[in-house]
């Protein structure tokens, strides 16, 4: 069994950082940042997700195939979001209803 090279300390530190980030995102949600609230909240969420994937899920020491697999999931999710929102957000660009 290949060693993951990650020790108990790393796990505990990661969990602590995750908890701090949770507090931070909740606190920042009350800051009047306008549209940036969403950006900040999702940015923090992405950071937390990345931490979990790299440390807890051993992606940091994972094989190229595993990383590629994880990246593929995100890439395809991006395709789905981009294609759908491309329609939803650009409706009404022509001065004709339904175009």
């Amino acid at each position: 069994m290949a060693s993951t090279g990650i020790g108990v300390r790393a796990y505990i530190v990661t969990a602590a950082v995750l908890l701090v980030l949770t507090g931070l995102t909740i606190g920042l949600a009350f800051a009047p940042l306008g549209p940036w609230n969403t950006v900040v909240a999702l940015g923090i969420a992405a950071t937390k997700g990345l931490l979990i994937a790299l440390v807890f899920m051993h992606l940091r020491s994972g094989t190229a195939t595993t990383r590629l697999t994880a990246a593929a999931g995100l890439f395809w999710l991006a395709i789905l979001l981009a294609g759908t929102l491309d329609d939803v957000m650009t409706r009404g660009w022509l001065p004709v209803p339904g175009k």
């Binding site: 195939t65 593929a72 999931g73 395809w76 395709i79 789905l80 294609g83 759908t84 491309d86 329609d87 939803v88 650009t90 409706r91 009404g92 660009w93 022509l94 339904g98 175009k99």
Partner: protein, 554 residues
Amino acid sequence: MSAVAIAPPPRTYVANGASIWSWLLTEDHKRIAILYVITITLMFFIGGIAATVMRVELLTPEGDLVSSSAYNKLFTVHGVIMVWFFLIPSIPNTLGNFLIPIMIGARDLAFPKLNLASWYIYLFGAAFTLWAVLNGGVDTGWTFYTPYSTQSSTTHVVSTTLGIFILGFSSILTGLNFIVTIHTMRAPGMTWGRLPLFVWSHYATSIILVLATPVLAITLLLVAIERVLRVGIFDPELGGDPLLYQHMFWFYSHPAVYIMILPGMGVVSELIAAFAHKRVFGYSFVAASSIAIAVLGFLVWGHHMFTAGMSVHAALIFSLLSYLVAIPSAIKVFNWTATLYGASITFDTPLLYALGFIGLFVIGGLTGLFLAALAVDVHVQDTYFVVAHFHYIMVGGMVTAYMGGLHYWWPKMTGRMYPELWGKLAALTIFLGFNLTFFPQYIVGYLGMPRRYHVYPPEYQVLNVLSTAGASILAVGYLLPLIYLLWSLRWGKEAGPNPWGAPGLEWQTSSPPPPHNFETTPIVREPPYMYPDRRVVGDPSAHRPQMRDGSHGG
């Protein structure tokens, strides 16, 4: 035959237990493949009966054979059964299941229990859907467009969608199993560059199965929730957006078209090589184009929605991307054609199917370009032109490839040869019947006959009569193999391990193969399709090509 005569008779996977439970609880990928062959054949004929009734109804412009309500249920049943319970599992779950482990030199798939589970999930999903069909049917079309499916239809939408939802897990598990198997179970020496193209195309198919099916699952779940709870997810009355449903549905269903053609392309690559007795021209391009189709196929779903009220911006982008996905398909066709150059071709039945596939796929693919051209799509969208186009791809393409593959590997699966003369006759009948059925539909579609029409204007009748005539020929074409293949099980000539003289790993083991495929794990030392080369004839030990055309290496 000589190899069989020397060795003691091998215990085959067929002889590995005769009780019904030894089949129903088997974890052997070959037996599970046979279970799938039986179930999808059954499904094919259920869907085929629905199609037959529809074609007979369409002989006359009036709706005089069945009622509108019955007709709507017929085309829905035909679509649902054929797409999800026949085409999606057709080649992957039968030929793919049987051959992928053998072709890569493995004893089984990575997860045999999961493989069996996926067959039971398939049955469970089929049971839901067939229950709905037998209890009054469903009339939304296979696309379940909202808000018709959620607010208006009074038929069994929920149980049908749940059936497909369940089936989706079967697809996902199959795709997952294939991907993991191809990654981790290859025999020593079986590098990625030595994988048969059949395996490459199934790898690409599995990527789509794994990435697209979950979106269909969640979409159909949302439809069921909206219908059961009477809340508005896609219902515009309650603020929903029916186009969102279409986006999510086609995000699955357009790539699903490639689930329904990529395995066929893999089969055809094998058939062309086997009967041209030649390496596939541009192996790496054919392999890479499978992956390209899997990726690009996800970028073009919007071309199903050009007239649906999508924004013009999105329509332009989706149209442009739709042209890109045509290129890898074209690359395949060119390479298959080029493979025949300088070949030594024998015209056995499987090759007839392969050539038929290329012809029909070219026509179906090129008419796909019509649909990608925005303004042309406006006119032909939702007409019989579209119906003809996708039947050329799915029936002319996938079913033809399936028939070709079934004939080619029949001796491997059963140990028996099919009757060659009947095989050729059936292939020819199918080709002629198919073209007569579906070519007139292109014309009647451009004339303006919408799909899903129970009654139609009289000026479309002549073409519909031609189509129905073709369909009856086609039906005979599909019944013939059912009869003679069953006949061959008992009376067919013994095939021996390698009746075609092909170099693939599946031909290096006995027919039918032993339970764990090989007596000893094979070690692979050369690229696939290493047929004898004319330039080294007379030296039977050297089968490697001596000269390389161009700088491209296999």
